[in-house]
Symmetry: C2
Subunit: 153 residues, 2 copies
């Protein structure tokens, strides 16, 4: 089987947010992130049909400011922790910097969604939007690796 | 702010699986999918450091056989259901066909992971691997949209 060696992501839209500086962005959406708008391109906007306020979504972004050459990091930027492979962490710097964000829909308008919480910066390209389905996406009793266990919301 | 209009995904590796035909692949990993190997490129392999058997991961793939021109579908291919936007479904056909798979690590070998369940076909390019973190990725009491509610595992 011949496999292509690279693939082109064409953004389906962009994040519009009050977060404009990397140093203001929390590491994850549950760590103080604000609401934001997902503005879709005219071509992608029909793909929103069926999404309603209250829906739980998974938003995939392209973290365009990430360093793609990084394969090992100190988890959460804490140099007292040993180096870990980026695939064992949620570091934004990684070979294909796709951000994964679980959000709730606050409102739907033509061609755009109001969602929260979202830690992505204003202007971040949108790769994809999927419904969050607990049967596919959630799992209980997991080993959480580098992360502290906190109560689930 | 000037934004690039497209981004290049360079696979970090490929899926090795007994699933070789699209018609044999279940729609989701919890619907009878087998185990599989995630084989990383030499450049990306150091990114696996810190991953161990028993870890819960989120695997992102590039569903290279998907139809990227599709923005509306009948959910789960059932034509008795009304057309929905692809972003309200888990259809593989979508503008940027990134597959999202929650798997458990069965074994770690140099440069590769043995995982299950994974419904992706043999040869599917790997985009990213992230640790599954319930505090970030799980959510209770969600509206599940087009999908039936089944008991969580």
């Amino acid at each position: 089987m011949i496999t292509q060696t690279s693939y082109l992501i064409e953004p389906i839209g962009f994040v519009r947010s009050a977060l404009s500086r990397l140093e203001d962005a929390p590491m994850q959406g549950d760590e103080g992130a604000p609401d934001a708008w997902l503005e879709l391109t005219p071509e992608a906007a029909p793909g929103l049909a069926g999404i309603a306020a209250g829906d739980a979504l998974i938003v995939l972004t392209w973290l365009h400011l990430a360093d793609r050459a990084v394969v090992q990091v100190h988890p959460r930027g804490d140099e007292s922790r040993p180096l870990a492979g980026v695939f064992a962490t949620r570091s934004p710097s990684r070979p294909n910097p796709v951000g994964l964000h679980r959000v709730t829909v606050l409102a739907v308008e033509p061609g755009r969604l109001h969602v929260a919480p979202l830690e992505a910066l204003d202007g971040t390209p949108l790769v994809d939007i999927k419904p969050y389905v607990p049967d596919f996406d959630a799992q209980t009793g997991v080993r959480v690796g580098w992360y502290e266990t906190r109560s689930n919301r």
